[in-house]
């Protein structure tokens, strides 16, 4: 057993950890990382990236299904789900290798194994080759999160699966109940339904994608229902028991028999087994409590990403990684602006949003003006044959401050960023409308929705 000395040790190499490690290296610090899975974390290996590959497959399958709309007649086609999963694995592998490459390029040492804190600057790594001890001036924890379940229901990854199982299984069930209609739930609902699985989407709250604007929930419900997904909101799952083709769900009187159940009720921070208790790291509602520079209650120990609190998003983790790295390097980083984190969901139609929903803006007592523009009135969307959805802009009536933007529709997740930049620069509606948007683009709908908030939309 040897002790290695570094300026910084990063435990966990998900999007928060690997970005923090690279930024530290850029700032001239010597860096080691510790990872018990593959570099890239859940995001690259089991989350964001492989699911986007599966969703692209779903999109292609749906497009093939309506090839006749484009005057292309197919005499049947076979969509192989195992090959879709294999493709998504190749995509994930490539991205994980990309992280390994970036580590080499930035002279970052990777220690495979499980890291835990012996003291605030000693990390013990239990790896395949034995135990190593790393000593660091500063430690960044980014161990992420794991799927939660309902009380009394065990995720066995056979009948009751989590997103971890869903991205690995090369065989899809004939029927599935998805519990939870947040981003993970609706994305898998789209993938499975596209491959002909009978999907029942269950949400305890009164609407699906409940953190999004109400109008977005309505639009998605309409589209999903049209695509044959059974949507049940206000649904309370009393129990999940083995039976029937796989599992029987008790929905409070009503029974639902399905081959598999996908548990998508949320994620919990991974904060156990790290030695946090031993050195007195304070937690807050299950997450590690951090300062605006991501420092925990223990000086020199930083926490970033999912374990440091909501929103549990890769891009938030990356931003926090940069802040932590710069703080350690003695810079004065701008803290993460949690009010301006875009939220993106990649089902079809895509959903993207930033800032307040209409309801929250009104609750906050703002006098708002609303602009809406449907993609049916956008030339590019019509040409693409992808006209579902709309853009909704919520602004302060007096100042034109952009309080929130909600997009559901083609490439929503790409369009959102003009509003993200606008909000960072404190642009108002006027700056957006005085920015010429190229024609024909989907982004013109952003311009039109903004114009609509001022009662000046041209194309509707």
């Amino acid at each position: 057993m040897a002790t290695h000395k570094y300026d910084v040790v990063v435990v966990g190499t998900g999007p928060g950890g690997y970005v923090a490690a690279i930024r530290c290296a850029q700032l001239g610090l010597s860096v080691a990382t510790v990872e018990d899975d593959r570099p890239g974390g859940v995001c690259l290996n089991w989350g964001c990236i492989p699911t986007k590959a599966l969703l692209r497959n779903a999109e292609v399958v749906n497009l093939m299904g309506r090839a006749a709309d484009f005057g292309i007649r197919l005499t049947g086609f076979e969509a192989s789900y195992p090959e879709a999963v294999q493709r998504s694995r190749r995509v994930a592998d490539r991205m994980a290798k990309g992280v390994e490459f970036l580590f080499r390029k930035n002279k970052i040492t990777l220690f495979p194994g499980r890291g835990s804190l012996k003291s605030k600057n000693l990390v013990e790594v239990k790896g395949p080759g034995g135990t190593e001890t790393l000593e660091a001036r500063a430690v960044i924890l980014g161990t992420g999160s794991e799927p939660k379940s309902l009380p009394g229901v065990t995720i066995d990854e056979k009948i009751v699966i989590s997103s971890n199982g869903a991205v690995r299984n090369e065989r899809h069930p004939k029927s599935i109940a998805i519990i939870g209609a947040g981003a993970v739930g609706v994305e898998f609902a789209d993938v499975f339904a596209s491959y002909g699985v009978q999907v029942t989407l269950l949400e305890a709250l009164p609407r699906i994608v409940p953190i999004e604007d109400e109008d977005v929930s309505k639009e998605l419900t309409r589209t999903f229902t049209r695509h044959g997904i059974t949507v049940k909101t206000g649904a309370k799952v009393a129990s999940v028991k083995p039976g029937g083709p796989g599992a029987v769900l008790d929905l409070g009187g009503e029974k639902l028999e399905v081959e598999q159940v996908l548990m998508a009720v949320g994620r919990a921070a991974k904060v156990t087994g790290l030695g946090l208790e031993g050195i007195g790291v304070q937690l807050e509602r299950g997450f590690v409590k951090v300062s605006p520079t991501m420092e925990t209650s223990v000086k020199g120990l930083y926490a970033i990403g999912d374990m440091a609190g909501a929103p549990l998003l890769a891009h938030k983790a990356m931003a926090e990684g940069v802040v932590a790295a710069e703080a350690i390097a003695g810079k004065s980083p701008r803290p993460v602006d949690y009010g301006n984190v875009p939220s993106c969901t990649y089902c079809h139609p895509q959903i993207a949003s930033i800032g307040s929903t209409e309801a929250r803006a009104r609750e906050a007592g703002r006098d708002v003006s609303i602009g809406r523009f449907p993609f049916t009135a956008n030339g590019k969307a019509v040409a693409l044959g992808d006209t579902e959805g709309f853009i909704k802009v919520i602004a302060d009536k007096a100042t034109g401050e952009i309080l929130g933007v909600h997009i559901i529709g083609p490439e929503a997740t790409e369009i959102i960023h003009e509003f993200a930049v606008g909000r960072t620069l404190e642009a108002t509606l006027e700056e957006i409308i005085h920015t010429i948007h190229a024609h024909p683009t989907l982004s013109e709908a952003a311009l039109e929705a903004t114009l609509a908030a001022l009662g000046q939309a041209i194309h509707i």
Partner: protein, 465 residues
């Protein structure tokens, strides 16, 4: 990796330039964020200047004893290997380029604008600051016949103090080079709607950009009413008289007071207060052991704070097309110094018991005299008190400190013959005179407020509950 420009910070509302008293770090010293780099004399106080970046203090551009306008480059922090030539070249002329006396032919285009600007400055007959020309910018300013047309010089971001008189260039906070206010669109809109003058605000965004929170903070009481007016004072020294250079503080007073007295229509209301009970109470309180000593002024502060809450119309200021009424009483306390006066702010007096006011006021006044005030104590008053009681002054009237709406002038507590029902006796009396901004309030409002202050002081137990 990163080169950090050290610029003259804006340390108070009215500050337009600052003088480096001394550098606490020297070139080559390692710097961490938060280190105290230098002591700066502003118009109000001597303030310590903190470093924002980390690295090595590579270059000091404004030596001790010289002044620079806010926002002007005064030093550079960078890593030892970083190339700082470009940043230094963009520095204001006085610091970097002075000393080259060679005057260029006025109309000849000049390949190195920064150097020319420096030469022009050295040659200029008046104390006008030299125009700042960003390195690599067009040569137009340099091509101007500089000595003949000093008045045509664009607003400078740096002051070049002349030998005799230090005439700081008046560069409002948010003004970047060329006079453009760097502010976000939202900040501009909110400022327009709330009547906040962006030129008077220091931005906290990247590169000093004014963002929403700066305007909102300014709107909540920190805004200064002073307009940005250049104060170019002719530098003439003769044998028959002596021109004493204006201290930073005297220059600020000279600049600000006409901005109050001329545009603000003052009216005055006076009242005599029987201080017998207050005097007695004070003596009793001061006899208690372990309690801070309470002055007459502390009683006046407490009385004003309570009365202001009851008369919010007096605790108000004109903000463009609206009157801003404050719900908290932040009292400015005028403190006389050898070279002028300063009005540090005691915040939330309405919520503080008399003993706390006494302790905090004493500390504030002491630090004001030692010029050790913190930047945040120099602005944000909603009402001020000026007390000349210690000079045996019967009564006087004070000039309002904009954007506040009123100021109370306090005279001495005098023993005078008084007539009451019992006949002729001796009593303690004190004159109060309030100066009010007639745009914000009327005579009756001022009188009612004063009546309440008087009642609180005449029934001083009210000050304790």
């Amino acid at each position: 990796m990163a080169v950090t420009k050290v610029v003259m910070p804006k340390l108070s509302d009215a500050m337009e330039s600052g003088k480096i008293i001394k550098w606490l770090k020297k070139e080559g010293d390692k710097i961490q964020g938060g280190d105290i780099l230098a002591e700066v004399e502003t118009d109000k106080a001597d303030v310590e200047m903190e470093a924002f970046g980390a690295g090595v203090l590579r270059k000091i551009l404004v030596p001790a004893g010289e002044s620079a306008a806010i926002g002007a480059l005064i030093g550079v922090i960078a890593e030892p290997g970083d190339d700082i030539a470009a940043v230094v070249a963009s520095a204001p002329t006085g610091a970097a380029g002075a000393g080259s006396g060679a005057q260029k032919t006025p109309l000849r285009p000049e390949p190195t604008p920064a150097a020319t600007a420096g030469a022009a400055s050295a040659a200029a007959p008046s104390s006008r600051p030299a125009p700042v020309v960003p390195a690599g910018a067009s040569v137009a300013p340099a091509a101007r016949p500089v000595p003949a047309a000093p008045a045509a010089a664009p607003v400078a971001a740096a002051a070049r103090p002349a030998a005799v008189v230090s005439a700081p260039a008046a560069v409002p906070a948010g003004l970047g080079q060329g006079g453009r206010v760097k502010a976000s669109p939202l900040a501009k809109k909110i400022a327009a709607q709330t009547g906040v003058d962006l030129r008077l605000i220091q931005g906290s965004g990247p590169g000093g950009r004014i963002i929403r929170r700066d305007v909102e903070a300014a709107g909540s009481g920190a805004a200064s009413g002073a307009a940005a007016v250049a104060a170019a004072i002719p530098a003439v020294a003769g044998a028959e008289f002596e021109d004493v250079p204006l201290s930073q503080m005297r220059a600020a007073i000279a600049r600000r007071m006409p901005l109050s007295k001329a545009p603000v229509p003052h009216f005055y209301v006076s009242s005599e207060v029987a201080m017998d009970h207050a005097w007695e109470l004070r003596e009793q309180l001061n006899a208690l052991e372990g309690q801070p000593k309470i002055s007459v002024n502390d009683c006046v502060i407490r009385a004003c704070a309570l009365a202001l809450l009851k008369h919010p119309g007096v605790n108000a200021s004109l903000q463009g097309d609206a009157i801003r009424v404050y719900h908290r009483a932040h009292l400015g306390i005028a403190v006389a110094l050898d070279e002028g006066l300063i009005t540090p702010v005691l915040r939330d007096c309405h919520a503080k018991p008399l003993a706390q006011i006494a302790a905090e006021a004493r500390d504030l006044v002491e630090r004001a005299r030692n010029r050790k005030l913190r930047a945040q104590e120099l602005s944000g008053a909603t009402f001020s008190i000026s007390n000349l009681g210690m000079f045996d002054v019967t009564e006087f009237s004070a000039i309002i400190n904009p954007p506040e709406g009123a100021i109370l002038a306090v005279g001495s507590v005098r023993r005078v013959p008084v007539v009451d029902d019992a006949g002729l006796g001796v009593g303690r009396r004190m004159m109060l005179t309030i100066s009010c901004d007639h745009r914000v309030m009327d005579g009756a409002m001022g009188a009612r407020f004063l009546q309440d202050v008087k009642r609180l002081l005449e029934e001083p137990l009210r000050l304790l509950v």
